[in-house]
């Protein structure tokens, strides 16, 4: 009897081992943490591969002209090089495409949304949003899912990614589409820049002397103080990570505009005020990661600054002054300007040093990682 019980226990143990999926193999170097993963969307290699296919598939748009990758190009750290993104039907977005580097760690998504904090939920915005139209799939859900269900590649990938669905047709849902895309996005980790080799990898010569001086300027609150908004290892402020505490996102008004009238920023881009309607939230945007920042020009939420040098000039002045035109105003006097944007003295040499430091955050391996590239090619 006892022997039978032992044998039964062994069978149960073997059975549960077979049923349990292997842990996902993250490609994350030490000492960085893993990103958080929602309980209802566990990571799997199959889901990541499906998400990657969808991310690069132009059938994700109403007219077959664009995919997610149209505005998030790998070689540009998943930005698009434009001041403001353009949707599949030609509508211009009021803001620029943000980098997706380390997006799985971000406590907030997009430039000015304090509400949508899950990648799964955010993916619905470009798919179905109408203000503006990005991929334009609103009202086309059935047709889009039918396309996936008929495709032999997707038949294989959906069955592997969502094997629990029964009947099989139930796998082809928008919920599963965004789960797969979010899983792929969580693998977009960028942690192998020269700066990482210098700071975490024991390679003191991975940075130029100029970049080392720039690091000191960046991290000194008495000089640049840039870290006060772009702090932490992701240069974006506090991050979420696996097993870590809840993190409230931060948003800052950098004094980019100061218009007369009801709002001090252009009406199409009032920051999180668009959501909260609080007057003191006008002009507040999320600080983007500075990783790969050298390849993500133009800069700021609306792409209104062309170069890193001009961005530094803006911050050194404690805000941007626009002398004439519809946006004329002294940004430094914006009533919501963050105290962190206090202005600072900076010589031409120090400016070169800070730019050299920012360039050291470019992760070439990330920009060329085949696992993040277009699988349809």
């Amino acid at each position: 009897m006892r022997r039978a019980a032992v044998a039964m226990a062994a069978i149960v143990a073997v059975g549960s081992a077979v049923a349990q999926a292997p842990p996902f193999a993250w490609d994350i170097p030490a000492p960085f943490p893993k990103p958080p993963v929602p309980a209802d969307n566990a990571m799997s290699a199959a889901k990541v591969e499906l998400g990657r296919r969808l991310f690069y598939d132009r059938r994700m748009s109403v007219n077959g002209a664009q995919s997610c990758a149209s505005c998030h190009r790998q070689e540009l750290a998943f930005t698009d090089g434009l001041a403001r993104a353009v949707g599949t039907t030609g509508e211009m977005h009021p803001r620029g495409s943000m980098s997706l580097a380390n997006i799985g760690y971000s406590p907030a998504l997009t430039w000015a949304d304090p509400v949508t904090t899950a990648l799964e939920a955010q993916a619905l915005v470009p798919m179905f949003g109408t203000e503006p139209v990005e991929l334009g799939l609103r009202g086309m859900e059935g047709r889009f899912l039918a396309v996936l269900q008929r495709d032999s590649v997707y038949q294989r990938l959906f069955s592997r990614a969502f094997p629990e669905s029964s009947p099989a047709g139930d796998r082809y849902t928008i919920a599963n589409v965004v789960k797969a895309i979010a899983s792929f996005e969580r693998t977009m980790v960028s942690m192998r820049s020269p700066y990482d080799r210098y700071r975490y990898g024991g390679e003191p010569n991975a940075l130029s002397e100029s970049a080392k001086r720039g690091e000191l300027f960046f991290f000194s609150g008495q000089r640049g103080g840039c870290f006060q908004c772009h702090g932490g290892w992701n240069f974006s402020g506090a991050v979420r990570y696996d097993g870590g505490p809840a993190v409230e996102p931060s948003f800052f008004n950098t004094g980019l505009y100061n218009l007369p009238g009801e709002t001090s920023y252009p009406a199409s881009n009032t920051g999180i005020h668009r959501v909260t309607r609080r007057p003191d939230d006008v002009g507040k945007f999320r600080p983007p990661t500075l990783r790969n920042i050298a390849v993500t020009a133009p800069y700021m939420h609306d792409g209104s600054i062309a170069t890193l040098g001009e961005v530094l000039d803006h911050y050194a002045a404690g805000g941007r002054t626009i002398a004439a035109g519809p946006y004329a105003g002294v940004g430094r006097a914006n009533p919501n300007r963050a105290p962190n944007v206090h202005g600072f003295a900076m010589t031409a040499g120090e400016k070169r040093d800070v730019i050299a430091f920012l360039e050291s955050l470019t992760d070439s391996a990330f920009l060329r990682n085949p696992a993040l590239g277009d699988p349809w090619k």
Binding site: F219, A238, Y241
Partner: protein
């Protein structure tokens, strides 16, 4: 007269010291019986301690000397002798770029509080470098890192009670 000397001490230590030549050091001055200039070699010869912090998911083991030990070496009455007028003293920690953080002497005494204050000179087995400077005052119990002053260059002790 004593107050006047404090003002002079503060003025000197508030100035950036990055340009000073030689091995990086921490100046311990002000209302201390024994002013000190501590280098990494000096800290290596003192009782060693370590704390581990986690910042955005990255754990770092800092090694160095408890600040209380540094203050004791400078002749301050850390421990049972920290009473009366000594409790109106404070320590102004300053970085080489001029950043300053103030601590009361009482909060730094391990016989009064459980606070941990480590004068760190190494992290994960390597000397501190780059934006950390050669020394960092690590305060692991703080919720934010604003008092964990990087590029630590001086500790100035001030007696407020006349």
């Amino acid at each position: 007269m004593l107050a006047a000397s404090m003002v002079v001490s503060l003025a000197v230590t508030a100035a950036p010291v990055a340009a000073q030549q030689g091995a990086p050091s921490i100046a311990v001055s002000g209302a201390v019986p024994t002013p000190l200039t501590l280098t990494a070699t000096d800290l290596a010869a003192m009782p060693r301690a370590s704390v581990t912090t986690t910042n955005n998911g990255i754990a770092t083991k800092y090694e160095g000397v408890w600040l209380a030990e540094v203050l004791r070496k400078a002749g301050l009455p850390i421990g049972n002798g920290l009473r009366g007028g000594s409790l109106s003293m404070y320590v102004l920690a300053a970085a080489s770029d001029g950043y300053q953080v103030l601590f009361s002497l009482g909060e730094l005494d391990p016989e009064i509080t459980d606070g941990q204050y480590l004068v760190a000179d190494a992290a994960d087995g390597k000397p501190l470098f780059g934006e950390m400077g050669a020394f960092r005052l690590v305060v692991p119990g703080d919720k934010r890192g604003a008092r964990s002053i990087r590029m630590l260059a001086s500790l100035t002790v001030v007696q407020t009670k006349r």
